[in-house]
């Protein structure tokens, strides 16, 4: 679905590049001024498509590495990677700081989103050739940590760029298009890596080299086709992007409420790897399908990201965001039934992917409305960080609950917690109106 759309959208991409040739051309206004009567992607700004392309290409690159890494460690290097993830906990805290720093740095100096994001993509790209020379667990672990630091750095500025390049009316769709492209890359990466391994003997070096080339291509697309700077200052409310101003964002009621909700709901969002483990243990998914389960989630995410983003623009981002958690709640409930119907795992994966499609980009679109342009990146980083830390805490808690009570009780507790958090979040809607609806439609 997305592939066809993006192709349909590409003439516009090149058309807008002509405008991008004039440094003064306001890219975001460009998106807004476009007549919205055309076909589906007509309202998506060229910058969003360019960022989508960057994410697609970068995800191909990083998922190539992710896909071959276990095989490389075990079969290629003869290492035992058990316990490799023990530092993940410490790393999560560091990653949160990097994300906040990236968000804030991007806002400073009148909008350096493109360059901060570019450094993030660049760092990740440079990590790939380093994998060619690292042959033991510690350096490989450090390289992966640097790679993820790059990801942490770029996420908020990139989302801010998407947000600033779209209008209040089409922001959900813009994020949906971006997330669909991103996920398409994640699905393609493992395939590319596999084809290389098939064509070679122990071709891990070739996988890393190709991954590096692909990552560099992503950085180049960003540098060449994403307009930089200045967008944040059009029609802003004059807030100076200082650190104090970034922290003061939490005094804004809308953003505070969104952050609190993202945090609460994140506390009841069981990590993906647990979901797949539960699918296997409770619904009897055979071992040989285990590696394919994440693809199920990704496929549903890919298919639903654009439709649900559009839906969010129409019926309200808040409602869509909450409905996404409803889908997750339903997925938990299905896992609790422990039925052995063949359709059940598909339903759980579809709901799980639907949950991401209805919440991931939609949350960013929703949060954008409550943050001034000058602080967009800081504000989005704040919400993302709250969510990421809450999810990490949930993983720790869920693991502990599993140890003490077993998987069924742990899941029951999460289900109840999610229901309570979702119910509470739905009452936080300010003044009973859907303030997260696009401006001007409430």
């Amino acid at each position: 679905m997305y592939v066809a759309d993006s192709r349909a959208g590409s003439p516009r991409l090149s058309a807008s590049l002509e405008q991008g040739g004039h440094p003064s051309a306001p890219v975001s206004a460009d998106g807004a001024a476009r007549p919205r009567t055309g076909r589906r992607l007509s309202a998506v700004a060229p910058t969003v498509l360019a960022l989508g392309a960057v994410s697609l290409v970068t995800d191909v690159s990083s998922e190539m590495v992710t896909a071959v890494l276990p095989l490389y460690l075990v079969a290629g290097l003869g290492l035992s990677p058990l316990g490799f993830g023990l530092l993940d906990g410490i790393y999560n805290g560091f990653s949160a700081l990097v994300r906040l720093a990236g968000g804030h740095l991007a806002d400073r100096g009148g909008g350096r989103h493109k360059w901060v994001a570019g450094i993030g993509y660049g760092v990740s790209a440079l990590c790939k050739p380093l994998l060619l020379v690292a042959h033991t667990l510690t350096p490989i672990g450090l390289i992966l940590a640097a790679d993820r630091t790059g990801k942490g750095l770029r996420t908020a500025p990139r989302d801010a760029l998407i947000s600033l390049s779209s209008t209040a009316e089409n922001r959900g769709r813009a994020f949906g298009v971006h997330r669909a492209m991103d996920t398409a890359g994640a699905l393609l990466g493992p395939l590319v890596a596999f084809l290389i391994l098939r064509a070679t003997v122990d071709g891990y070096d070739a996988v890393f080299t190709v991954s590096f080339c692909v990552a560099v291509a992503g950085v180049l697309v960003l540098v060449l086709f994403v307009p930089g700077g200045g967008q944040a200052h059009e029609a802003g409310d004059g807030t100076r992007p200082t650190l104090r101003a970034a922290l003061a964002l939490l005094r804004r009621r809308d953003l505070r409420r969104i952050t609190v909700c993202a945090l609460l709901l994140g506390l009841a969002t069981v990590g993906d790897s647990f979901v797949y483990l539960l699918l296997q243990r409770r619904l009897g998914v055979p071992d040989r399908w285990f590696a394919l389960l994440p693809l199920g989630t990704a496929a549903a995410f890919l298919l639903l990201a654009v439709p649900l983003g559009r839906l969010a623009d129409r019926v309200g981002r808040w409602r869509t965001f909450l409905a996404g958690h409803g889908a997750l709640l339903l997925a938990y409930a299905l896992l609790l039934t422990a039925g052995h119907s063949a359709a059940l795992p598909y339903a759980v994966l579809a709901l799980h992917g639907g949950f991401y499609a209805a919440t991931d980009g939609v949350l960013m679109a929703a949060a954008s409305d409550g943050v001034p342009r000058e602080l967009r990146s800081s504000g989005l980083a704040l919400v993302q960080t709250a969510q990421a830390l809450a999810r990490f805490a949930c993983s720790l808690g869920f693991g502990a609950a599993w140890t003490v009570w077993g998987d069924r009780t742990a899941l029951t507790v999460s289900t109840v917690a999610l229901a309570v958090c979702a119910a509470f979040s739905s009452t936080l809607r300010p003044n009973g109106t859907d303030t997260l609806r696009p401006e001007g439609t409430t």
Binding site: F194, A206, C213, D272, A291
Partner: protein, 339 residues
Amino acid sequence: MTARNRTLVLLAALVVLAAVAVASVLHASARADRRNQTQTGGPRVTPGRVTLTGSGRMVFRNMAWGPHRDELTSVPAKDPSGPRTASGVKCLRFYAASGTGVCLRAVHGPVSDTYRAVILDASLHERAHYDVPGIPSRARISPGGRYAAWTAFVGGDSYAGTNFSTRTAIVDTRTGELTPSLEAYRIVKDGRTYHAADVNFWGVTFAPDDRTFYATLGTRGTTYLIRGDLRARTVTTLHTNVECPSLSPDGTRIAFKKRAPGLPKDAPWRLYVMDLRTLRETPLAEYRSVDDQAVWRDDHTLVYALPGDYGADLYTVPADGRGEPRRISTAAVSPAYLR
């Protein structure tokens, strides 16, 4: 820069990047030709008949370059560096006992590789096969040839995921009854039933009674030696800091790799032997880090693999802590002694 120039810059860069990418793939695929050529000075390998019956032979995966790379080969146990007889059967990991073999191998599919455990009869013909959910690591057959066990690594599934887990399966080759994951067994730790999401099992070794086995249980950063009961479907923790146990033929001792204090994180293991009655541990005379499930050649000698020029070499060391390690075979891994 105009749009046209940007596009030209991108295209030019893509041509260069594509050239680098293609060159790296071609370089890696040329490796296949090199590896199919026999190395001068390497072991002599000739095709022939390999069986899992009879005694006095060692069967293993041949890693020497040439047409028989990765095939099961056999040598006289007394002359392990002598000429090899290649069977034509390819395996990544292998073990055999009493005329039954287990061979973990890759199956090349259209969009990804999968792995499979194949139960072999004495003539290396396939009797049954089972899906393996990850990258093969350890394989064992019970001394009487009835039970087979294998361990696979299952990789992380998140962005740059670094969390790995293991799956260990046991099959009764007589009835075909498969336990896909030992996690289905009840864990008794310190006298109480234990649950945890992060439970991992690896490295099964069987006792001759067709009921008892030993393995490693990892949870919360600690590894335990466990004794398993195939009939009661329980595992009981016995001791900590034990990985990849291997039961001696007389059933009295366990050889294992232990995370010894003060060693680098990348090479943390030393080989030990533990007396199961007294739980007394003896460090062996191998001072390198061994990441293998050792094999007992007899009641006094252990054989294990260390990384070598062509993948791995086999070494031997006395089981009583005395003597010194000796290389017995190059370009070889996964040995099994036919008794």
